[in-house]
């Protein structure tokens, strides 16, 4: 119990004086996950909307696939990306293994299906309401995608934040493709796993507190956005 309280006070102390190692890890985590989020959103928002609005061969299969991939285990994503970018893999020449870029690729693959599948549902719901009007106005499907993403912006933002939460919290994928190399690919989750097993509880706990706080902030933001949209009667 004493260890525990010592670890806590040390953890808060590290956060309080902005320990450089701690800051470096937090910054890298945010950089990797935010970049992955940006790339995933650019791909997944139009993709999810297109799956909702277009009738093309294979759209059913794609929908099932996206929904199934929402629950992808991060370690499996990590493994697949590892096989692709390892020296012997098809993309091995790029030399990406154990770099932040590899971690971004893995997290992008992990959260893009989540964002796409949830976006599809948002757009389907909106189409239910807007469909006849948009057809009546003579809106083409491609334009309809942009219209619905904009009009569903609050719900889409919630979806994107959910993707960010998932990226920040996962450990398996970045561990495998990043390798948890000190000062290079060490992020919050991988550091917590490593330092805990080494018995260095204060750093692990400090990072855990920051991670929890971030998670709370993200979910708080989701809630506030939802409430704000509802109050404006815009959701």
């Amino acid at each position: 119990m004493d260890d525990f309280s010592t670890a806590f006070s040390l953890a808060f102390d590290m956060i309080g004086r902005l320990d450089p190692d701690l800051v470096e890890i937090v910054v890298l985590s945010l950089k990797v996950s935010l970049t992955a989020l940006l790339v995933a959103a650019l791909i997944a928002l139009p993709l999810g909307a297109a799956v909702a609005l277009f009738r093309f061969p294979g759209v059913g299969v794609l929908t099932v696939l996206l929904n199934a991939m929402m629950g992808l285990p991060p370690v499996v994503v990590g493994l697949v990306v590892y096989l692709l970018i390892s020296r012997a893999g098809p993309l091995g020449v790029l030399g990406l293994l154990f770099t932040p870029t590899a971690m971004i690729i893995a997290q992008t693959l992990l959260i893009a299906p989540i964002i796409a599948a949830l976006t599809r549902q948002v757009i389907l719901d909106l189409w239910e309401e807007y469909g006849e009007l948009l057809v009546s106005l003579g809106v083409h499907r491609a334009r309809a995608i942009a219209t619905l993403l904009w009009d569903g912006r609050f719900r889409v933002l919630t979806v994107v934040l959910a993707g960010f939460g998932r990226a920040m919290a996962e450990v398996g994928a970045v561990m495998i493709v990043g390798g948890n190399i000190n000062h290079v690919t060490r992020v919050m989750t991988t550091t917590i796993a490593l330092e805990t097993s080494k018995g260095n509880l204060s750093l692990a706990l400090g990072l855990g507190i920051i991670l929890l706080t971030l998670s709370l902030l993200i979910n708080g933001a989701i809630y506030v956005v939802g409430e704000w949209a509802a109050r404006r009667n815009a959701a």
Binding site: E132, L133, V135, S136, L137, G138, V139, D151, R153, N233
Partner: protein, 239 residues
């Protein structure tokens, strides 16, 4: 000036869902000038007929032919207002501007037309307000303004006042008359006899998916020929 899309010819129009025929062979020619009111009880097929004419649905039999246009090519000159007003999650002015942008109206003229139709529908004061916080009557007037802005040759209205109180209904009806006065053909459905009397110049009476009677409004209300129309006017519910 784009050439007229009238007359509208409806040829033996059939709409079936599975085994059920919801429209059973409707034939009519509709001209450009009068206010046409499609009247009938719930489930007669009024809204369906409107959607088929507008091109939102494809008939399972028969044809909708607009003068000089290929099938589906006339929707640019048409507009429709729905029973439950659909408003985009943007400001009142942006709702109208959106419809104009879709029709390719450039920025300068767009702003002028937005101001004009909002003024004529009494919504100028609400231009910057989010459309979603308007009252039901205001939302329906916005839907009318948005439809009007693109200067359609025909405006379809599907029970436009079914959810509104008498004051809001009157405001909507006044706007409908103004839109017609500006040169747009009005085709609307209603099950409200009072509204049909106030707005109808020509009545198409539908019952059970058939066009039972078609007459100038004064003659229709003075002496309906069919037993179904007579029963409907007298308020006897025989279906």
């Amino acid at each position: 000036m784009t050439p007229s899309i009238f007359p509208l010819r409806i040829e033996n129009l059939v709409y079936e869902v599975g085994e059920r025929a919801l429209l059973r062979g409707i034939t009519a020619e509709i001209g450009a000038t009068q206010r046409t009111v499609i009247l009938g009880p719930n489930g007669a097929g009024k809204s369906l007929l409107l959607r088929l004419c507008h091109g939102l649905l494809a008939p399972t039999g028969g044809r909708v032919v607009w003068q000089g246009r290929k099938e589906g090519a006339a929707i640019r000159d048409q507009a429709m207002v729905f029973q439950r007003p659909v408003t985009l999650r943007r400001s009142v002015a942006a709702n109208v501007a959106y419809a104009l942008a879709i029709r390719g109206v450039s920025r300068g003229p767009r702003r002028l037309r937005v101001d004009e139709v909002l003024a004529r529908t009494g919504l100028t004061a609400k231009a910057r307000v989010s459309a979603r916080v308007l009252s039901g009557g205001e939302q329906q007037r916005l839907a009318l303004a948005r439809a009007w802005a693109s200067r359609p040759q025909v405006l379809f209205l599907d029970e436009p006042t079914a959810n509104l109180d008498p004051a809001a209904t009157r405001a909507v009806e006044e706007v409908i008359l103004e839109i017609q006065a500006s040169g747009t053909k009005i085709v609307m459905t209603t099950h409200d006899l009072g509204q049909a009397r106030r707005l109808g110049e020509e009545i198409l009476f539908l019952c059970d998916g058939r066009l039972v009677e078609r007459k100038p409004a004064d003659r229709f209300f003075a002496g309906p020929e069919s037993p179904e129309a007579a029963a409907f006017i007298e308020g006897r519910l025989t279906w």
